[in-house]
Amino acid sequence: MTDILAPTSLPNSLRSQPDAHGHFGAFGGRYVAETLMPLILELEKVYKAAKADPAFDAEFAELLRTYVGRPNPLYYAERLTEALRAKAEPGKGAKIYLKREELNHTGAHKINNCIGQALLARRMGKKKVIAETGAGQHGVATATVAALFGLECKIFMGAKDVERQKPNVFRMKLLGAEVIPVHSGSSTLKDSMNDALRHWVSNVHDTFYIIGTAAGPHPYPELVRDFQSVIGKETRAQMLEAEGRLPDMLIAPVGGGSNAIGMFHPFLDDPEVAMIGVEAAGEGLHRKHAASLAGGKSGILHGNRTYLLQDEDGQITEAHSISAGLDYPGIGPEHSWLHEIGRVKYMPIKDDEALESFQTLSRLEGIIPALESAHAIAAAEQVAPTLDADRIIVVNLSGRGDKDIFTVADALGVEM
């Protein structure tokens, strides 16, 4: 961990990616069937125009304020900090802040992106939206904005996940969405993305695909990042107000990586701010896991070139994480690039470590984190005691853990 705060040699700006063709270094791009290309190109055009239009930004900001409940707080987790200091050597134990994304409407960062994409769908005149979902958080967020904007909504969800996440399935139905169970492949998140793409290619004329993470064909990784960057921008302003300086380190969980890139991006050009993306190591990197960077290699899936879990023939291997939101064999392309250039360090955290931190944060701070976020807490628990006490860490508490109580109870052998 000693090199974590070491300065990195940087090009002029790390915030100017992707290039005109949607590449982040060797990653990203547009690897889709020809049928989708014209729509992808149109989306790029519409997004460029929206980005340049102050009215778009104003409407986005207003909805984030009045509907999502932003800005959400940056909270000093004093009891967690002190508990870690008690176990650290004297003078060690960084101060831990939590960025409270779990306080957003629908309980996670997902809604930020959904609001942005729904505004784009409206600009493109699309009356129908579709989305893929794993645990159901992105599905719920999409169904929510579909209700808000009066759009017809279909959610593709692996049949196994439909079974595992009944409360979220019911929420989506209450919000007026149709939930379509996906039986193909392994019946989990990657298969629901395959089926969402199949539906999209068959309905391109009237349907907008609200992708839930900073992955997929260009311009999705860029626009999802931009919509999620509100997390990092707020963190920056709030930290300057609270401490009068930037944090020393940011920690965020990474599945596809939208909450992490949203938090990291506004700080990429501040070399004094270290960053750790936390991958799901499942049962361990030599067993079943979902750590694409630690255990995968570069390949092409779901519209982008990025790190993927795959065998030597390029067949995609099944991911595993106790957290359904991290249970995906790929990662957003910008993370692959930031990993390769070394700007962000990526750290694997196992199921049992996340489970432990899930309980620790609940008891010490009265905050039940999502299992995804619990991975980031676990990383902070390992890193904070190695840093001096005057250092500051911000952990992205990307979602609340209510959805996970059944999974956690099951893992702990508790009958509810």
């Binding site: 547009r30 193909s184 290619v201 390949g299 795959q310 995609i316």
Partner: protein, 272 residues
């Protein structure tokens, strides 16, 4: 060496009919079953063979071909098996063009150079890579073309006049017109829309135009054969393999013969 694809399209044209292009997934239901199915296609009168490279996540395919992919991988088909099947096919059928169809990740897993060398060594004439649009041609196109292997481009109902030149840039072998905006084997395009699309494509290129997606019957094949240079039939054959498994070859041969018969009859009627 004469180009097998252009030679075959020219021969079909001389007979006044469209080329019959038939698809099967390599290794479905297992690697041992594929040679007999390929031979049955040739015996039934297929002009060009499309051999599907299985992939875990075939997101441009409908349920029929998706299941075929999973059956193949489930029985242990590896990339080296696909190339072995191609090499053996080439040894048995010196003149029948063979086109590999699949997704970028299995093709590029060992690098574009490796893939192009394997194609060349196995006597593969062309490659259709579903998820590499012209914008990402650099991944695979230059390497294949340098090895003398065609990268077949796809045009779809959403490929408008403005975009068509980009699709044609670097296209070779033939142009594959995807008749429906959708996945393989699901909907069927209206004949009128196919005719308009083929006429538009022919005005823009001298490459042969093959039409596929949703072509399931001899009657449909014949109707498309009146306007196109080639007709691709995939899911209907894959369904036969799905039903009959290891014993599928004779059923495939009968079906391919019926398709070919319809194309030949249509050509004679047109000539008469």
């Amino acid at each position: 060496m004469a180009d097998r694809l252009s030679t075959r399209f020219a021969a079909c044209k001389a007979q006044g009919r469209a080329a019959l292009i038939t698809f099967v997934t390599a290794g479905d239901p297992d690697v041992a079953a594929t040679p007999a199915i390929l031979d049955a296609m040739v015996a039934g009168g297929a002009d060009i063979i499309e051999l599907g490279m299985p992939f875990t996540d075939p997101m441009a395919d409908g349920p029929a071909i998706e299941l075929a992919n999973l059956r193949s991988l489930g029985s242990g088909t590896r990339t080296r098996d696909v190339f072995a099947l191609a090499t053996e096919f080439r040894a048995r059928h010196a003149d029948t063009p063979l086109v590999l169809m699949g997704y970028a990740n299995p093709m590029l897993a060992r690098g574009a150079d490796w893939f192009a060398e394997q194609c060349k060594a196995a006597g593969v004439d062309g490659v259709i890579c579903v998820d590499v649009p012209p914008e990402e041609d650099a991944e695979i196109g230059p390497t294949l073309r340098a090895a003398g292997v065609h990268l077949v481009r796809l045009a779809t109902p959403t490929t408008d006049a403005q975009r068509l030149p980009a699709v044609l840039q670097g296209a070779s072998g033939f142009l594959y017109h995807v008749a429906v905006a959708g996945v393989t084997g699901k909907q069927q395009a209206a004949q009128a829309s196919i005719e308009i699309a083929v006429a538009r494509l022919k005005a823009a290129t001298d490459l042969p135009i093959a039409v596929g997606f949703g072509v399931r019957s001899p009657e449909q094949a014949a109707a498309i054969g009146r306007v196109a240079d080639g007709v691709v039939v995939g899911s209907a054959i894959v369904d036969i393999v799905g039903s009959h498994g290891d014993a599928a070859a004779p059923f495939v041969q009968d079906f391919v013969a019926a398709l070919r018969g319809a194309l030949t009859t249509q050509a004679q009627e047109t000539a008469a």
